[in-house]
């Protein structure tokens, strides 16, 4: 279960503080596919970052499987992220010097759970259709293949929560369909809670729960 309580975020700017989110309350049940939609600048990515433990909220709480994420210390939060949350960003977020296999195994390696990490990453890459590209560097992969490596990396720790922040925004229509199909399959087959940020109503239509953000607040 994912719970946000009175979540707010204010950014300091030269022209004074700007509120990105104002008192968000939401709940996503375990195993659900939820989509956060809204126009550019509505605060949906900021909301996702706070839910994922990546950006400290100015106020409020985020509870992931009962753990108050922002009450944890920095290292404990990093460990929690490595073990319970998977991320697919809106850009090709692979380390260019690592092979696909090492990129996919990275969360386990950083977390000190290296034993068997590559075998697990290899199995995931096989599952996602990249069995022939385990030793390929990101520059040798297409955009769609890179995104699949990112999905494998997000799943390597077998997280309960998968966050995807506009994961197909820089992909062509066909690749977008492939990746979204892949994410939906992961959600169905693994029972992972999937939270997708998108500005595409068509993509959001496939979600079980839609959360609409406008001007930093939830639209009822």
């Amino acid at each position: 279960m994912l719970v946000c309580e009175a979540l707010s975020k204010t950014y300091p700017t030269d022209r004074g503080p700007v509120a990105a989110l104002r008192g968000i309350d939401l709940e996503v049940k375990s195993g659900r596919y939820a989509a956060i939609i809204g126009r550019s600048g509505s605060g949906k990515s900021s909301l996702m970052a706070m839910i994922g433990g990546l950006s400290r909220p100015s106020g409020g709480r985020v509870l992931v499987a009962g753990t108050d994420l922002w009450a944890l210390g920095s290292d404990a939060r990093a460990r929690f992220r490595a073990r319970h949350i998977g991320y697919v960003f809106q850009f090709a977020s692979l380390l260019p010097t690592l092979r696909a296999l090492d990129n996919a195994a990275l969360p386990l390696l950083l977390d000190g759970r290296g034993r068997g990490a590559r075998a697990r990453a290899a199995a995931l890459l096989e599952e996602l259709g990249l069995g022939a590209h385990l030793d390929a560097f990101p520059s040798e992969l297409s955009a769609g293949e890179q995104r699949r490596v990112v999905i494998a990396r997000a799943l390597v720790s077998d997280p309960g929560l998968l966050l995807a922040d506009e994961p197909t925004s820089d992909l062509d229509a066909q690749t977008e369909r492939e990746i979204m199909g892949l994410l939906a399959r992961v959600h169905r087959t693994r029972g992972t809670t999937l939270l997708l940020v998108t500005h595409s109503l068509a993509l959001a239509a496939e979600a079980e729960q839609i959360i609409q953000v406008a001007d930093g607040t939830l639209v009822p």
Binding site: L54, S93, S157
Partner: protein, 410 residues
């Protein structure tokens, strides 16, 4: 890569790969550090060597002042290397009893001129000069050759005019001594034909000397010395020290050496200090440059660092990765710099040092152990420069929210 090797191995690999990604920038960084390190290493070795050479060279110029008994007969020489052989003596603790400003070093000596020692030819007049190796600054700098150990009891040093071989035995007043060292030619008579031994060794001959001469010469009493050789402290004026000595002690005579040499000594010492400061300043400038560069490197890699944090990297791993990268680059620069510095030293040896040696100016290189220590210190300093330069940007990045880094902020 073995799965079980752990995150440290992964971070080390990432650091190396990051350096490899920007080869030209890395090469420029390594080259800049190497250049600074080469100059610092070669500069430090040369300056320390020059310092040693100057110290020996200055000491070879002799003392600035000589303090002897008022009754002593003295002959003015260009260089005050030994006190005058005279029966008039001074208390051994004369200078210890008063704290006099302007005196850097004071070397007491006992000089016994005798024709009964048995050393040299039969009846030959020999100056036996007792000195304290720990305070001496006018005898040992003139050593042309010596046994590979410190001088001790039972050892003698002979002037250049004596032809006894190094390590051979020399019998003085019936006691056997080992020829520990031989002096270069000084042009000062006492030095040329003298036999130098520690004051303790000379005092140890007292009984034999008394028996053979029928009396104990006054300078062989443990509480008396023939005189003192003085070196002035930096900035001290000869005239002031002379007045100070004469006003404190009534029974003394103060003989001045060549005052021109004192001026040269003090001037060159100040120049050396300036050169050392210049090298330190250059190393500091390199540290600032590395700091600026790593600040830019960390800034450029914010997205990557944020991504690593997002997928579970701890703060210390982010700091460790950045510092490791810096240390690898600057440490490699340090190693290359030391190698380059060694080449510079070789060049220096083949040019200027060779020229100086041809001119008869002695150049004493730093001991090999000290040179190795200087090299190690340079490499460590280079690595520390990397740490100092990268530490602040690394800590700042590690404290930023991953989302801020991913967005290119923080």
């Amino acid at each position: 890569m073995d799965d079980a090797r752990g995150p440290r191995f992964l971070l080390a690999r990432l650091a190396l790969q990051n350096l490899g990604r920007r080869r030209i920038r890395t090469a420029l960084l390594v080259a800049a550090v190497a250049l600074s390190c080469a100059i610092a290493f070669a500069g430090a070795v040369v300056m320390r060597s020059i310092e040693t050479s100057m110290s020996v060279g200055f000491s070879r110029l002799g003392a600035d002042l000589m303090v002897v008994s008022r009754d002593a007969l003295t002959h003015l020489t260009a260089a005050l290397l030994t006190v005058e052989p005279t029966d008039s003596t001074l208390p051994a603790d004369l200078l210890a009893s008063e704290s006099l400003p302007g005196i850097a070093r004071a070397a007491p000596q006992r000089v016994l001129r005798t024709s009964l020692s048995g050393a040299g030819g039969a009846g030959e007049s020999v100056d036996l000069i007792g000195f304290d190796p720990s305070t001496d600054f006018t005898v040992q700098p003139w050593l042309a050759e010596r046994l590979p150990r410190a001088i001790g009891a039972g050892d003698v040093i002979v002037g250049s005019a004596r032809t006894v071989p190094l390590g051979s035995e020399l019998v003085i007043f019936g006691a056997p001594f080992r020829v520990y060292g031989k002096l270069s030619s000084t042009g000062v008579g006492t030095h040329e034909r003298g036999i130098f031994l520690t004051s303790q060794s000379l005092l140890g001959l007292s009984r034999a000397i008394s028996e053979r001469t029928g009396s104990l010469p006054p300078m062989l009493r443990p509480d008396r010395v023939s005189g003192f050789l003085l070196e002035l402290a930096s900035g001290a004026r000869e005239l002031q020290v002379r007045f100070s000595l004469l006003s404190h002690f009534a029974e003394i005579k103060v003989v001045a050496g060549a005052s021109l040499l004192t001026g040269i000594r003090q001037g060159l010492s100040a120049l050396m200090g300036g050169a050392v400061a210049l090298v330190a300043l250059m190393f500091g400038a390199t540290a600032v440059m590395v700091g600026v560069l790593f600040s830019a490197i960390v800034s450029e890699r914010r997205v990557e660092l944020g991504l690593l944090q997002a997928i579970g990297a701890r703060r210390r791993q982010i700091v460790g990765l950045t510092l490791l990268e810096a240390v690898l680059a600057t440490g490699a620069g340090g190693l290359l710099g030391v190698a380059g510095g060694a080449l510079l030293l070789r060049l220096f040896e083949r040019s200027l040092v060779f020229h100086l040696t041809q001119m008869g100016v002695p150049f004493l290189w730093l001991e090999r152990v000290d040179m190795a220590l200087a090299a190690a210190a340079c490499v460590v300093a280079a690595a520390l420069v990397g740490i100092a330069g990268a530490l602040f940007p690394a800590i700042r990045a590690s404290r930023s929210d991953p989302y801020d880094l991913i967005r290119g902020e923080g």
